[in-house]
């Protein structure tokens, strides 16, 4: 017991000294578990996040938009992969993580359970959803676990184009006609609140946050990140000439921040619990893709083995 305590004290000291923890270093089991859960959830979110956008690839309004959207979705597949790999360094396997996603045991960001009804939704996702994700991810570049931090750095480098392509879509639509601007307003009305929910429950309702902050897995609390996001986004909405759907949204000179209205946490927990508009559809699409791809994975392995045995025969 003393031994464990001294190991944990040493570990915390390394964290306090801003040392990064690497895959083979000793770490408390709860640290490992928290990381596996957080990183794999993050990876699942990248993968499931491709689905609402994939809906619009064939209907993008121009070749330029289509190419940009394809590139963005391809990035997301890559980001999922960086994150799965980072989680695997902690001793979990890809199959295990996919299995947890497919059986509904593991969660992904509940924002992806909302539908993409119009092309303006693709713009709103890039601006708000990717904007919120970036806010979170920039902070995670300094997370204490080395492989996770390195994955985050890579992701952040690539992600900034995602937000710009979204904003560019909205800017073009807002300048183009009243009808298109109304589409943008409608999309923002639907995506604003779910985007604020992406940062998770209020700090007072988030029991694991304190430990995660102490271990520097998280570097900023949910509420701090949410506030930063609101402060950053309000002026961007003004440039678009779009109203953010919150009557209580007002600059508070005393705090130096924007005040905003109460989040509907009942809706958040409903969606997390599987009752969002698209939960079933998203999971079904993932499971189907995995099952229908099984023969490809198997064929590739069989082919690789055939080539290997041919080489061995010719060498003998």
């Amino acid at each position: 017991m003393d031994n464990i305590n001294s190991l944990e004290a040493k570990f915390q000291q390394r964290i306090d000294d801003e040392e990064k923890i690497e895959a083979r270093d000793w770490m408390p089991e709860a640290y490992r578990k928290t990381l596996v859960r957080q990183i794999s959830q993050h990876a699942h979110s990248e993968i499931v996040g491709m689905l609402p956008e994939g809906n619009w690839i064939t209907r993008a309004p121009s070749l330029k938009r289509k190419l940009a959207l394809l590139a963005k979705i391809q990035d997301e597949a890559g980001h999922g992969l960086y994150l799965y790999s980072a989680a695997e360094t902690l001793g979990t396997s890809r199959d295990e993580m996919l299995d947890q996603l497919h059986t509904g045991k593991a969660k992904y960001s509940s924002i992806f359970n909302y539908p993409t009804l119009t092309w303006a939704d693709i713009g709103a996702i890039g601006w708000l959803v990717d904007g919120a994700a970036i806010m979170n991810q920039v902070a995670l570049c300094r997370t204490s676990y080395g492989p996770y931090a390195r994955a985050m750095v890579r992701i952040c480098k690539e992600e900034s184009f995602h937000q710009r392509q979204g904003y560019d879509i909205l800017l073009t639509m807002c300048k183009s006609s009243d009808v298109q601007k109304a589409m943008v307003q409608d999309a923002v009305n639907r995506w604003w609140w779910p985007s604020l929910m992406m940062f998770g429950p209020n700090d007072s309702e988030s029991p694991h946050s304190a430990q995660s902050l102490l271990w520097k897995i998280k570097r900023l609390s949910n509420d701090e990140l949410r506030q930063r996001f609101v402060d950053m986004t309000v002026p961007q909405a003004e440039i678009l000439g779009i109203r953010l759907p919150d009557d209580k949204l007002v600059y508070n000179a005393g705090r130096g921040h924007y005040d905003f209205g109460d989040i509907d946490w009942e809706e958040f927990w409903q969606v997390v619990g599987g009752n969002g508009p698209c939960n079933k559809q998203r999971l079904q699409a993932r499971v189907r893709a995995h099952e229908e791809g099984a023969w490809v994975r198997e064929a590739a392995m069989t082919y690789a083995e055939k080539i290997r045995s041919k080489k061995e025969t010719s060498a003998a």
């Binding site: 270093d25 391809q74 392995m301 290997r308």
Partner: protein, 93 residues
Amino acid sequence: MKDWPLFEIFIRSKNGLNHKHVGSLHAADAYMAIQNARDVYTRRNEGVSIWVVESKYITASNPDESEALFDPAADKVYRHPTFYELPDELKHM
């Protein structure tokens, strides 16, 4: 079905520089690992050359032996040029 093995990926960002570890991925064989690495790690001109090696072939030093391995270097200041005090008028050394 057998799982696709894990490969470690190393990228040379431009000629004249070392290949550097960038991450890992699963592939059926080394050739597919190179193709996947090209898609995953060089989408924005990050590389001119790729090495892949199956993770199981990498032998890593044990973090518990870090002190024994690396601490002895700490007290050998005479391995650094700044250890030697030489006259100011001495040039080009």
